[in-house]
C-alpha cells in the first residue's frame, strides 16, 4: 500500500500544482516533492533488506489475462526510489532563480515524471513496468520541447522517436514472454524468472531488451540522441534525464534482462561489455574536446553509464552492487554539476569554456561546491564516485582482464576532462564575461549543500546504501544459479 502511495503522491501533487496559479506553483510543487521525500524516508525506516519484496500492492487489472497493477519494493528498487525522491525536490528548488512561463504546467510535469519514475522502479508486473517506462517519456518530452533551446523541436523529436522505438522492442519481448508462461498466462515478473527458454529464444529476447535499455541509457552506438537532447533541454529536464531517467535503463537490465535471459547473456555478454567499454572510452575522448560545458557533462554521463552497464553485464555481486551505488552517486553528481553550469550560465550568459575564467576570485563558495561535486565525478577516494567505480572496474576486470584494463583508462580520461572543465571555467585570468559574478544565493546553497553532503556520505560510509540492496542482489544471483 505504501508503494502505491509513493506513486500516487506526486501525481496528486502534480494535479494540485496544475490548478494553483503560476505564482505559487513553485512552492506547491516543492512541498509535494518534499512530502514524497518524507514518505520515502519513512518507507526506508520500515524497510527490512533481508525480507525480499515489501509493501507490495496488487490489483487485478485485466483479470482474465493475468495482468495486474502490481508494485512493491525490494532493496534494488528502494535505492532508486530514494534517489528519485531525493533529487526531485532539489531539481524543483534549483529552478527558484528562474521564471518559466506557464509555471504550473512546468512543475506539474516534473512531478508527473517523478511519479512515473517511481512506478518504473517499483513495478512487479512486466506490463506495468512497460507502461511506466513509456509514461516517463511524455512529461520529459514536453519539458524539453516546450521550454528548451533553439533547436528543441528537431532534437527532442529525435529523442522521442528513438526511445519509443527501443521500448516497442521491449513490448514485443514482453508479449512473447507472457505467452510462454504456463496456464492462463501471467505477466508477473517473478513468473518470467521461472521460464525455461531455449538458448535461441533467449538470444532474441536479450537483444530486444538490450536495444530498449541501451537506447535509454544510452550505450554506444545508440547514443546519438543524447548530447543534443541534454544540451537543448532546459536544465531541470536535463537533470531529470541524466540524474534519474538514465537509471531506468540500468535498472531494466538488472530487473529484467539478467534474470530472464541468463543464457542469452552468456552468449552475447562479451559483445555487450565490449560495446559498453567502447562507449566509456569514446565518450571520454569526445568530452575532452568539448567547449560547451553542458555538452561536456553530457558526454561524461555517457561514459559513466557505459561503465555501469559493463559492470552489470559482467554479472557478479561486485558488478551489480557497484552499478547500484554508482547509479546513486552519478545521479547526485550529475544533477549537481548541471546545476553549477546553470548558475554559471545564468550569471555570465555563456557556457563556452573559451569565454570563461577567473570565477574563483568572485565566487569562492561556488568553487568549493563545484570542486567537491567534480571530485566525486572523477572518483577520488572518499567521494561517492570512488566506491562505484572501484567495484565496477574490479568486476569488469574479473570478467575479462583486457577489457578491465581498457575500461580503467576512464579514471585518467575522466580527470582530464573534468579538471580541464574546472580549470578553464574557474581559474585563470578573469574573463569579461565573469565581470560582476555574484556568489551563491540562499536557495542555491540549499540545493548544493545536500548534494555535497551525500557525495561525502556515500564516499566515506557507502555501507548505508550498499546494505539496502545487497540481499536483493544476492537473491537475484541465486535465482539464476550464480
Amino acid at each position: 500500500m505504501l508503494t502505491l502511495l509513493l506513486i500516487l503522491l506526486p501525481i496528486v501533487a502534480g494535479v494540485i500544482t496544475l490548478t494553483v496559479g503560476a505564482n505559487s506553483a513553485k512552492q506547491v510543487a516543492l512541498i509535494g516533492a518534499l512530502a514524497e521525500l518524507g514518505l520515502a524516508l519513512f518507507v526506508w525506516s520500515q524497510f527490512d533488506p533481508a525480507a525480499g519484496v515489501q509493501f507490495a500492492f496488487k490489483y487485478n487489472w485485466l483479470a482474465s489475462a493475468g495482468i495486474s497493477f502490481g508494485a512493491g519494493l525490494d532493496g534494488i528498487s528502494l535505492v532508486l526510489v530514494l534517489l528519485t525522491a531525493f533529487l526531485t525536490p532539489l531539481i524543483i528548488l534549483s529552478t527558484f532563480g528562474h521564471t518559466y512561463k506557464n509555471g504550473s504546467a512546468f512543475y506539474s510535469l516534473i512531478l508527473f515524471m517523478s511519479a512515473a519514475l517511481v512506478g518504473v522502479f517499483s513495478a512487479t508486473d512486466a506490463f506495468l513496468f512497460y507502461l511506466f517506462f513509456e509514461a516517463a517519456l511524455i512529461p520529459v518530452y514536453f519539458l524539453a520541447a516546450v521550454w528548451g533551446g533553439e533547436n528543441r523541436l528537431k532534437v527532442t523529436f529525435k529523442f522521442f522517436i528513438y526511445t519509443m522505438f527501443g521500448s516497442l522492442f521491449m513490448l514485443v519481448a514482453l508479449i512473447y514472454l507472457y505467452y510462454q508462461t504456463p496456464g492462463t498466462h501471467t505477466s508477473d515478473i517473478t513468473a518470467f524468472y521461472q521460464l525455461q527458454l531455449s538458448a535461441k529464444s533467449q538470444g532474441f529476447v536479450f537483444w530486444a531488451f538490450f536495444v530498449a535499455f541501451a537506447i535509454k541509457m544510452p550505450l554506444f552506438p545508440f547514443h546519438t540522441w543524447q548530447p543534443d537532447t541534454y544540451t537543448e533541454s532546459p536544465t531541470p529536464a536535463t537533470m531529470l534525464l541524466s540524474g534519474i531517467m538514465l537509471k531506468m535503463g540500468v535498472y531494466g537490465l538488472i530487473r529484467l534482462l539478467l534474470p530472464i535471459v541468463p543464457l542469452g547473456l552468456e552468449t552475447w555478454g562479451l559483445l555487450a561489455v565490449i560495446l559498453s567499454v567502447i562507449g566509456i572510452i569514446y565518450g571520454s575522448i569526445i568530452a575532452i574536446q568539448q567547449r560547451d560545458m553542458k555538452r561536456l557533462i553530457a558526454y561524461s554521463s555517457f561514459a559513466h553509464v557505459g561503465l555501469m552497464a559493463a559492470g552489470v553485464f559482467a554479472f557478479s555481486i561486485t558488478g551489480l552492487q557497484g552499478a547500484i551505488i554508482q547509479m546513486l552517486a552519478h545521479g547526485i553528481n550529475v544533477v549537481g554539476l548541471f546545476f553549477v553550469i546553470d548558475i554559471i550560465l545564468d550569471r555570465t550568459k555563456t557556457r563556452n569554456l573559451d569565454q570563461l575564467g577567473g570565477i574563483t576570485q568572485m565566487a569562492p563558495q561556488l568553487s568549493v561546491y563545484f570542486m567537491i561535486l567534480l571530485l566525486g565525478s572523477v572518483a577520488l577516494p572518499l567521494t561517492n564516485g570512488f566506491v562505484g567505480e572501484f567495484l565496477l572496474l574490479s568486476s569488469v576486470f574479473a570478467f575479462n582482464s583486457w577489457l578491465g584494463a581498457i575500461a580503467g583508462v576512464t579514471i585518467i580520461l575522466g580527470s582530464v576532462y573534468m579538471l580541464r572543465l574546472f580549470q578553464m571555467s574557474m581559474f585563470g585570468p578573469k574573463s569579461k564575461w565573469a565581470e560582476g559574478f555574484k556568489d551563491l544565493t540562499l536557495s542555491e546553497r540549499a540545493v548544493l549543500l545536500p548534494l555535497v553532503i551525500m557525495v561525502l556520505w556515500i564516499g566515506i560510509y557507502p555501507g548505508t546504501f550498499l546494505s539496502i540492496s545487497e540481499p536483493a542482489v544476492k537473491n537475484l544471483l541465486q535465482l539464476v544459479g550464480k
Binding site: 487489472w61 523541436l153 522517436i161 519509443m164 513490448l171 505467452y179
Partner: protein, 465 residues
C-alpha cells in the same frame, strides 16, 4: 435484426422529412432514429445465435457488438455534421437517408451467414458511399474522388462476385456453415483448386474495401477529395464493417485451410503497414496523412486476422472501437480548424493549419493530442491496448516476425502523428478562438473520455461478447 428493419423504414421517413420547409428538424430526427436503432440492436443481446431471413443472417453477440460500434460511430458523426447548415447547396435529407441506408448495408456485412447477403451488404454500403463522396458537387476534387472510388469499387465488387461464384462452384453452396463443412471434410480429402481461387478473389474484393495494400490506391485521393464528414464516415464505418465481414468469413468457414490463406494475409498485412506508414510520413496535408494512417491501421487489424487465435475476436472488436473513437475526434477537430482557415479557396488541411492551436483553443488541442496518442499507440490510451491485443493474438499463434515488423512501423507512425501535436503546442500560429457548438463539444469530450477510459481499464467490456 431490428436495426435493419428500423433503419430501412426510418431512412425513407428521413427522405420525406426533407420535403418539410424546416430543415432544422432533420438533424435531431436522424439522431433520434440512430438512437432507436442502437437501442433495438441491443434488445437481442444474449438471445443466443439467431438466424433470420431464411438462415441468411445471423445475430449473435459478436454481430451486436460490431453493430454497436458502427451505429455509435454513425451517431457521433451525424452529431458533428451540424445539419449542413452552413452549406446552401447541401441536401441534408438525402445525405442523412443515404447514411441510414448505408448502415443497413454495413449491418448485413457484419451479420451475414450467406455469401449473397455479404454481396448485397457490400453493395448497399458502397453505392451510398460513392454518392456521398461526390456530394460536394461543385468541387472538382470531390467529383474526381467519387468517380475514382466508383470505378475502382465497381471493379473490386466484380472480382468479389467472381470469387463467390467460384466458391459456389467448388462447394455447391453460398451458406457459410455448408462451406465450412465442405472445407473441413471434402476439401481435406480431395483439395479443390477452385475453392482456393474463389477464396483468394473474394478476399481481394474485401481487402479492397478495407483499403489494404496493394489494393489501397484509391484511398488517399478519395479520403482527401470527399467532404471531411464523409471521410470520417468511410474511415470508421466501412473499415469496421469490412473487418467484421472478413473475420466472420475466415473464422467461420475457412479455418480448415488456415495453412493456405494465413500467409497471404500476413504478407498483405506487412505490405499494408509499410505502404500506410511510409506513405503517411511524406504528406503535408493532415487529411491525406489520415488516409494513409487509415491504411496502416488496416494493416494492424490484418495481423489479428492472420493469427486467428483465441484473442483475435476481442482484438478486432477493441481495435475497431479505439480506432473509430480517435478517428472521429481527429477529423472532428480538423473540420473545425479547416473551416476557419482557407488556402486558395479550399479549406486548409495541412499540418500548418494547426500551428498554435493550443494557445486559444486548449480544449481542441487536447482532444487532438489524445486522439493522436491513441492512434500512435502510446500507453494509457485505448489505442495502446488495441495494438497490444493485436500483437498478443499473433504471439498466441507463435507468429513473432509479423508483430516485429509492425513494431518498427508503429515507430514510424509516432513521427507523423506527433507532427500535429508539435504544430498545435509548440509552433507559433494565429488561430482565433473557435466556437464549438455544444453537441459537437459533447461528441469530442465523449470520444476523448472513452479513449482514456479504455486506456486505463481495457478490461471494461471484456468477457461480454
Amino acid at each position: 435484426m431490428y436495426p435493419i428493419v428500423l433503419l430501412s423504414v426510418l431512412g425513407i421517413v428521413t427522405l420525406f422529412l426533407g420535403f418539410s420547409k424546416s430543415k432544422n428538424i432533420l438533424l435531431p430526427s436522424t439522431l433520434l432514429f440512430l438512437a432507436v436503432a442502437l437501442a433495438g440492436n441491443f434488445l437481442e443481446w444474449n438471445q443466443g445465435p439467431l438466424l433470420y431471413f431464411y438462415d441468411m443472417f445471423r445475430v449473435d453477440n459478436l454481430t451486436l457488438a460490431f453493430n454497436g460500434i458502427v451505429l455509435a460511430s454513425a451517431f457521433m458523426i451525424v452529431a458533428i455534421s451540424g445539419g449542413f447548415q452552413d452549406n446552401a447547396e447541401a441536401e441534408p435529407a438525402e445525405y442523412y437517408s443515404l447514411m441510414l441506408f448505408s448502415l443497413v448495408g454495413a449491418i448485413m456485412m457484419i451479420g451475414f451467414e450467406h455469401l449473397i447477403m455479404l454481396f448485397i451488404g457490400v453493395e448497399i454500403l458502397s453505392v451510398a458511399m460513392y454518392v456521398l463522396t461526390g456530394s460536394n458537387k461543385r468541387n472538382l476534387r470531390s467529383n474526381e474522388a467519387a468517380l475514382k472510388y466508383f470505378l475502382m469499387g465497381a471493379f473490386a465488387t466484380g472480382i468479389m462476385l467472381f470469387g463467390i461464384t467460384l466458391l459456389y462452384g467448388a462447394t455447391g453452396s453460398f451458406d457459410l456453415t455448408t462451406i465450412q463443412a465442405f472445407v473441413s471434410t471434402t476439401q481435406q480429402a480431395v483439395p479443390s483448386y477452385l475453392l482456393y481461387a474463389g477464396l483468394l478473389l473474394l478476399m481481394i474484393g474485401m481487402l479492397f474495401k478495407v483499403s489494404a495494400a496493394p489494393f489501397h490506391f484509391w484511398t488517399p485521393d478519395v479520403y482527401e477529395g470527399a467532404p471531411t464528414i464523409f471521410t470520417t464516415y468511410m474511415s470508421t464505418i466501412v473499415k469496421t464493417a469490412g473487418f467484421a465481414a472478413l473475420y466472420r468469413l475466415l473464422s467461420h468457414s475457412f479455418t480448415g485451410i488456415y495453412g493456405f490463406w494465413w500467409i497471404v494475409i500476413a504478407v498483405i498485412a506487412i505490405l499494408t503497414l509499410m505502404v500506410g506508414n511510409i506513405g503517411a510520413v511524406t504528406q503535408n496535408s493532415f487529411k491525406r496523412m489520415m488516409a494513409y494512417s487509415g491504411i496502416s491501421h488496416a494493416g494492424y487489424l490484418l495481423i489479428a486476422l492472420t493469427a486467428l487465435s483465441k484473442p483475435t475476436q476481442n482484438a478486432i472488436v477493441f481495435y475497431s472501437m479505439a480506432y473509430s473513437l480517435s478517428t472521429i475526434a481527429a477529423f472532428g477537430v480538423l473540420m473545425l480548424v479547416s473551416k476557419e482557415k482557407t488556402l486558395e479557396g479550399q479549406p486548409d488541411e495541412r499540418y500548418d493549419a494547426f500551428n498554435g492551436l493550443a494557445k486559444q483553443n486548449p480544449f481542441l488541442a487536447f482532444v487532438m493530442t489524445v486522439a493522436m496518442l491513441s492512434l500512435a499507440g502510446i500507453p494509457l490510451t485505448a489505442g495502446f491496448w488495441g495494438k497490444f491485443f493485436v500483437f498478443s493474438s499473433a504471439a498466441d499463434r507463435g507468429i513473432i516476425w509479423v508483430p516485429a515488423v509492425a513494431v518498427l512501423m508503429s515507430t514510424v507512425g509516432i513521427y507523423y502523428y506527433f507532427r500535429v501535436i508539435i504544430a498545435s503546442y509548440l509552433k507559433e500560429g494565429d488561430i482565433a478562438e473557435i466556437r464549438v457548438a455544444p453537441f459537437y463539444k459533447i461528441v469530442l469530450i465523449l470520444a476523448t473520455v472513452l479513449t482514456i477510459l479504455f486506456g486505463l481499464a481495457p478490461g471494461l467490456l471484456e468477457g461480454l461478447i
